[in-house]
């Protein structure tokens, strides 16, 4: 059971609205997003429920949900939402707020997803471009699932599907500088 006290000022709602540019209060719980969303069945709270949680000011519960990590930003839901709510922007807002406020879900899948994104960014930082084989390998090592997808690898490599070498931008320096400055901007914002 959740006890709802006096919700004089829903600061969580305000923060999400501000960051996303959407107005969550407009959601009238029609559920069209839920049956649109390709991954709603994997979310512990599908979009409609997340909207309601924000309205109720349930900040921690929202931060600990896996929903925004599963969101593929496919915009299918927002394209159909009768109230034209930018749902992926709301998901993104919760995600960024959770990162900023250092909430970390212990859910294995969420951890995997976060790791993947970290590695991907790392890859770009190092090479300026994505190096697919290395990334797959690194992901598998870091998620302790060494042999995941490995059955695909020989065939893919053989067929030239996944190249062995990699390219990188000449100005790797420029990219690294960008990462540094962007990181600084991120901190300033807080």
């Amino acid at each position: 059971m959740i006890t709802l006290g006096l919700l004089e000022k829903n600061t969580f709602l305000e923060a999400v609205n501000k960051k996303s540019g959407a107005n969550v209060l407009e959601c009238y719980q029609c559920g069209k997003c839920v049956s649109t969303c390709p991954v709603s069945s994997y979310m512990d709270f599908p979009p409609r429920e997340i909207m309601q949680m924000i309205k109720l000011g349930l900040k921690e519960e929202s931060y600990m949900a896996n929903s925004m990590w599963f969101c593929l930003t496919c915009s299918a839901c927002s394209g159909r939402c009768p109230r034209e709510i930018d749902i992926p922007a709301v998901m993104e807002a919760i995600r960024h707020l959770a990162i900023e406020e250092n909430y970390r879900s212990e859910n294995k899948k969420v951890k995997d997803i976060r790791k993947f994104h970290d590695i991907f960014l790392d890859m770009i930082k190092r090479y300026g471009r994505n190096y697919e084989l290395r990334m797959m390998a690194e992901f598998n090592i870091r998620t302790r699932n060494l042999f995941k997808d490995m059955h695909l690898a020989p065939k893919a490599l053989l067929k030239g599907k996944i190249p062995i070498g990699h390219e990188s931008t000449k100005s790797a320096k420029a990219i690294q500088r960008m990462f540094k400055l962007a990181g600084k901007l991120e901190k300033e914002k807080r």
């Binding site: 009238y28 719980q29 029609c30 559920g31 069209k32 997003c33 839920v34 049956s35 649109t36 709603s40 069945s41 599908p46 409609r48 429920e49 159909r80 939402c81 009768p82 109230r83 034209e84």
Partner: protein, 657 residues
């Protein structure tokens, strides 16, 4: 020189306890125009009024100021006292020293007294500038014009005509009946629509006080309440209604087939047709956009078979005029086209139909003899999915409002489906069930329990094809699961929208309409059947979506309003209206733009005395003007004055303190 009488009221203790009234009486006497200033316990009582009457006569007063309660209370009472004494009643001013002073400054008698003095000074100053006014009386033409012959127009016309007031009923299509004629059985009682409607249609046709003009439109309306002049365009029907017997021989033989709009294009009609068998009038018209004779000069079969010689290919549109005193607008509604629902495959899948198409199919006299079928293969569907709020409550694709009737007719459709196809099942996707009305919730319960229709709470997000089934996907929010229903047929409860020519009609009638195109009522709660333009009323869906019970109630209310308006031989009107002094008018027409009642028109007058050249000036129709004063304030030439609230009157008040 003005001679003013001041009458100060104690109002028992209400005024006297908080204002030094004797001092107020004395203060008024200081003003030189004041010829008499007196005090009385209850000014509004008979002796009080008597005092005023006597004083008027004895002191030859030219205006009267009563210092008492709010003019909203007793202005009428005191005006009557004035006229009883032979004085023009509009020479009265009331100083509101009770609501505006004694009751609101009870702790400061000095200040309350000062304020009372000021209020009385202001009233005296104003009254000196008052002019003699006379109630306006306008003649009335006792004939009503009803536009639109759906159930709303039919009911209004019958009720007015039953009061022996002549009615002209103008219907755009070849027959009256409107949407109700297309319905099968109707909620909440499941009466057969045709059975309750057709007798009324016949009554219209035979009523001695009703002139039915089908296949026509109103194209112009001039004048004002009680005195409108309407121009009506009768479209060429190419059939002489006076000789045609309605035998139908022409229709039978006509070789041209056209999609039948009455049956939602499920079947075909001929180029010469009556929209449906019970049509009133039951005379055919030729659809000029399809008849090959009219298009290419070939055919003429109908003329050959007509024994009465009623067919006339040379017929042209005709404009007729009617003088009427009141107008009832009853142009009904349209249904929203669901094409924007691309995610449902609307337009690609034949087995997705609209509610009105379903209604025609289940109608016993409909194109499929009362059995619903799948348009794709003609098979009778078993699993039927109904989706509500299509285009309604959907600002992304349709409109924001709730269409009000679809929750109910969808419940009805579930019941009717079950009646027609016993082994069928209805699934209903809904967001809310809006069943507020007498017997409505009970009716929905019937659908839920007796028919065992499955209600699923959620908006459908996608429909796709699997074999010959349509897979309908939506969330069932009650169990928090996405569900897919295998459907044979999908019925969309499409939004009710305003007829698309409502705005142009509204403009020509001079009434206002809202952003959706519905005609606007004068007040949403207290004047729901009147428009802001006096003498023009609204009935049925032309004002907002509503079901038959509400439509009929509103239509009868319109009739009552019309009868009320026509109760006397003339209409009495408050004289506090504006007039334009055309000598000052520069012709800028700013006033024309601001008048909320379109009371101001322009006219041409000679440029100077005896000059042949003309100039444009504005003119106010006192029958239409409601006396708001907008035009007065906007006129830069100071050409307009509002009786009772003239510039001199108000300036006098301002400087009187």
């Amino acid at each position: 020189m003005a001679r003013v009488g001041v009458f100060v009221c104690y109002c028992g203790a209400n005024i006297a306890d908080f204002i030094d009234v004797p001092a107020v009486v004395e203060e008024a006497k200081k003003i030189k125009e004041v010829k008499i200033s007196v005090l009385y316990k209850y000014m509004c009582s008979d002796p009080g009024q008597g005092m005023i009457r006597d004083a008027i006569v004895q002191n030859r007063l030219t205006s009267v100021v009563v210092a008492a309660c709010s003019p909203r209370m007793h202005e009428k009472t005191f005006r009557k006292a004035l006229s009883d004494a032979g004085m023009n009643p509009y020479m009265l001013e009331v100083a509101n020293i009770r609501e505006h002073s004694s009751w609101v400054h009870q702790k400061d008698k000095k200040a309350a007294t000062e304020k009372a003095n000021d209020l009385i000074r202001m009233a005296i100053a104003k009254s000196i500038a008052n002019e003699q006014l006379h109630e306006i009386s306008v003649p009335v033409t006792k004939r009503a014009l009803v536009i639109g012959g759906g159930i709303a127009g039919i009911q209004a016309a019958l009720d007015i005509a039953d009061a022996r007031i002549p009615v002209t009923l103008v219907e755009k299509s070849p027959s009256i009946g409107g949407r109700m004629a297309q319905l099968d059985e109707t909620f909440p009682t499941l009466d057969c629509s045709q059975c309750i409607l057709t007798p009324k249609m016949v009554d219209v046709a035979s009523h001695p006080y009703i002139e039915l003009i089908p296949y026509s439109e109103v194209i112009e309306l001039d004048g004002y309440v009680g005195n409108y002049k309407a121009k009506i365009k009768k479209k060429a029907s190419y059939v002489d209604f006076s000789s045609c017997t309605g035998c139908g021989a022409c229709t039978q033989k006509c070789p041209v087939k056209v999609p039948n709009e009455f049956n939602m294009n499920i079947d075909k009609r001929k180029a010469i047709y009556t929209p449906f068998p019970q049509a009133v009038p039951n005379k055919p018209v030729i659809d000029a956009t399809h008849c090959t004779m009219l298009l290419k000069g070939k055919c003429g079969i109908c003329a050959k078979v007509c024994e009465k010689g009623s067919i006339n290919f040379k017929m042209v549109d005709e404009v007729i005029e009617r003088e009427v005193g009141a107008v009832v607008i009853a142009t009904g509604y349209d249904l929203w086209d669901p094409k924007p629902y691309e995610e449902y495959g609307v337009g690609r899948y034949k087995d997705i139909i609209t509610s009105l198409e379903f209604e025609r199919m289940v109608s016993a006299s409909g194109p499929t003899n009362g059995v619903p079928i799948r348009p794709s293969d003609g098979k009778v569907p078993k699993n039927v999915v109904f989706i509500k709020c299509i285009g309604s409550r959907d600002e992304a694709k349709g409109i924001e409002y709730c269409s009000k009737i679809c929750c109910m007719y969808t419940a009805k459709h579930a019941i009717l489906l079950h009646h027609k196809v016993h082994d069928s099942h209805a699934y209903i996707f809904y967001m809310d069930i809006r069943a507020a009305g007498k017997g409505y919730e009970e009716f929905v319960k019937r659908a839920q329990v007796e028919t065992a229709a499955t209600y699923l709470r959620g908006r459908v997000s996608k429909i796709y094809k699997k074999g010959d089934k349509l897979m309908v996907r939506g969330e069932d929010a009650q169990i928090g699961q996405v569900v897919e229903v295998e459907a044979d047929l999908v019925v969309l409860a499409t939004a009710v929208i305003a007829p698309k020519d409502n705005p142009s009609l509204a403009r020509l009638l001079g009434v206002s309409y809202d952003k959706y195109g519905y005609m606007s009522e004068a007040h949403p709660k207290l004047r729901p059947v009147e428009t802001a333009k006096a003498g023009i009323f609204l009935a049925g869906c032309t004002q907002a979506p509503k079901d038959i019970p509400d439509t009929v109630a509103q239509a009868s209310a319109c009739a009552a309003k019309v009868c009320g308006l026509f109760a006397g031989d003339t209409l009495k009107k408050d004289p506090m209206v504006s007039t334009i002094n055309n000598e000052f008018c520069s012709g800028c027409q700013n006033c024309v733009k601001v008048c909320p009642y379109q009371a101001i028109v322009t006219e041409e007058i000679p440029l100077g005395h005896g000059s042949k050249e003309l100039r444009t000036v504005a003119k106010i129709n006192e029958g239409v003007c409601q006396g708001c004063g907008s035009c007065v304030a906007i006129c830069r030439s100071m050409a307009i004055n509002l009786a009772g609230f003239t510039d001199p009157q108000i300036i006098n008040e301002i400087v009187a303190i």
